[in-house]
Amino acid sequence: MSSAQQVLPLQTPTPAGRARRPRWHFRLQGSDTAWAIAFVVPYVAVFVAFVAYPVVFGLWMGSRSTLYTLLFSDPRYIDTLVNTLLFVCIGVNVKMFLAFLVSGFFMQRRWWVRALLVVFLLPWALPALSVFLSIHYMLVSQWGLLDTLWTAVTGADGPLFLVSRGMAMAANILAYIWKWLPFWTLIFLSARMAIPQEIYEAAAIDGATGIQQTIHVTFPLMANVYLVATLLSTLWTLGDFPTVHFVSSGAPARTTDVLATYGFHQAFNFGHPDLGAAAMMSALPLVIPVVILLIRRLHRTGVQL
C-alpha cells in the first residue's frame, strides 16, 4: 500500500542481533496461557479472515494457466509490464538519491532552512487523491498552470502531455517523486542526525573536504538504511495505485497502466476479475525475492522504519 508510506517513523534503539529471537525456554503456566490466547485471538482472527483468506482466494483465482497465455497475448499487458518496471526502477531510485541529497541540505541549522522544511513536507501531509487530481488537471487542460507558463515563456502552445505515452509516463513518475520525496527525506534526515558529529570532526582534521566526507563517511554509515528504504519502497511502489490512476489515468488509450491499475481495470471495468488477479500474481516473481531480501536484512540489522 503506497499510503503505508505515511508512517510516522518512531524509532527506538535496539541492540542488533538480539531482536526477536524465539524464547523457547519460557513456558506459560495455567491461567496465563488462557490470557495469552485471549489476547492474540483478535489479531489471529483479523489475519485469517482478511489476509490469509484473500491471499489464498487470490492465488486460486489466478491459478489457471490459460489466464497467463491470455495475459501474455494482450499487447497492453506487455506495455503494462514495461511501464511498471520503468515506474519502479526510475521512480524509486531517483527519489531515493534525491532524498539522500536533499536530506543533506536540511541538515543546516539556519532558521530559513528549518522554515523551508515545513513547506517541503506539504506534499507528504496532503492526501494523495487531492494532489494527484491537481496534477492531472495541470496536465490535461489547455488552460492549466503548466500550459499558461509554457505560453508565457515560449510564446507557443504547450505540449499535450497525456497524448504521448512517454510524456504521460514521465508525468506519472514525476508526480510520484513529488509526493513521496519528503517522507524519505525525513527518514534520511533522521539517519544523518544519528551519525555522531565527532566522526566528521575527525575526518575534517584529517583534511577531508565536504564531498569526501559525504562519500567516505556519510554514505557508508547510511548504506544500510538506504538499502532497506529502497527495498521497502520498491515493494510499495510496485503496488502503487493512486498515482497512475489519477495522474495519467492510463492515457493515452491505456498505454501507461501499471500492474495495479491494469488489474483493477480488468477486474472492475472489463469484468474479468480472474484476469486481474492473474495480472497481480504475475508480480510475484519480483515481489518474493525482494520480500525475502528485506526481511532477512531487517532481522539481521534491526533497522526500523
Partner: protein, 294 residues
Amino acid sequence: MSVVARTRRLSPWRYRASRRVGEGAGMLLGIVLIVWSLAPIYNMVVIALSAHDDIFAGTIWPASPTLESFYVVVTEGFWYLERFWHQFGNSFFVGLMTMFLTLLIGSLASFTVGRMRLRNGWLLTNAALMTYVIPASFLAIPFYRIMQIYGLTNHLWAVIAAITTFATPYAIFIFSQYGKSIPMELDESARIDGANPLQIYLYVYLPLMAPALVAVGTYALLLAWNEYLYNFLMLSTPDSMTVAVALAQFLNSDESPWNYMMATAIVYALPPMIIYYMVRRNMVAGLTMGGVKG
C-alpha cells in the same frame, strides 16, 4: 603539507567569497524546492478560487478570485456534494474506528508476544511483517470478493476491516520496538502483587506506551482518511461513501466543475494536514532517536 594547513592559509577574502557562493547556492536550491513543492498546491488553490467561467481563462492568478466554490462545498450546493457533511462524518467514523481497533488489536498482540513471552510468538511477528511489506492493492480483487461473501459490501465496516488489517502490522512493530524500553521488572513486581495479565496490560503496559499509542493512532487515522482504492471498491451509494470516493466522482462528470472539485479536495485535505503538523514535534523527536544501526 596537509590539507588543513592549506585551508588555514586561505586568505580571509577568498574564504568569505567561497562561503558566500555556498550560501547563494543553498538559497537557490531552497527556492527550487519551494517552487517544486508548492506548484501543484498553488494550482489547486487557484482553480478553487476561480469562478466557473474563469477556469478556462488561462491566467496565473484568477482575475476575480472568489470563495464561491468553497461556499458551494460547505452548503452542499452541487449534486455530487449533496451528502458532503454526511460523507465527511463517514470518513471520520472510519478513521476513528480504524484507529481504535488498530490500537486495541496491535497492543494486545504485541503485549502477548513481547511481555508474556508467548511461545512461537515470532510466527505472529513474521506474519505481521509480511502483511506490512506486501502492497495492499494486490489484494484488492480477492478482498472485494471476500467482502461479498461476508456480506459487508457497501458497508463502512468493510473499509474499517480492510484498513485495520493493513495498519495493525505497523502497530505491532512499533509497539514491540517501543516496549523493549519498558523494564520487565515492572511487570514482574505487579505480578508478585497479584495482578493478572489483563491488569498488567491495563495499568502498567498501556500507560507507559502512551507516546507509541499516539504515534500509531495518528498513523491509522490518517491511513484511513487518505486511502482511496478500498474506499472506492467497498462503498458505492452516496450515503455510504466517504469523502475520498465522493471527490473522485467528479472525474466522471461532463460538466467539468473543476473549481468545485478542487475546493472539495482542499477541504478534504485540511484535517490530515492539521494533524500532521500537530504531531510533527513528536515525530521529529522519534526520528532523532536513531536510524543508523547495524
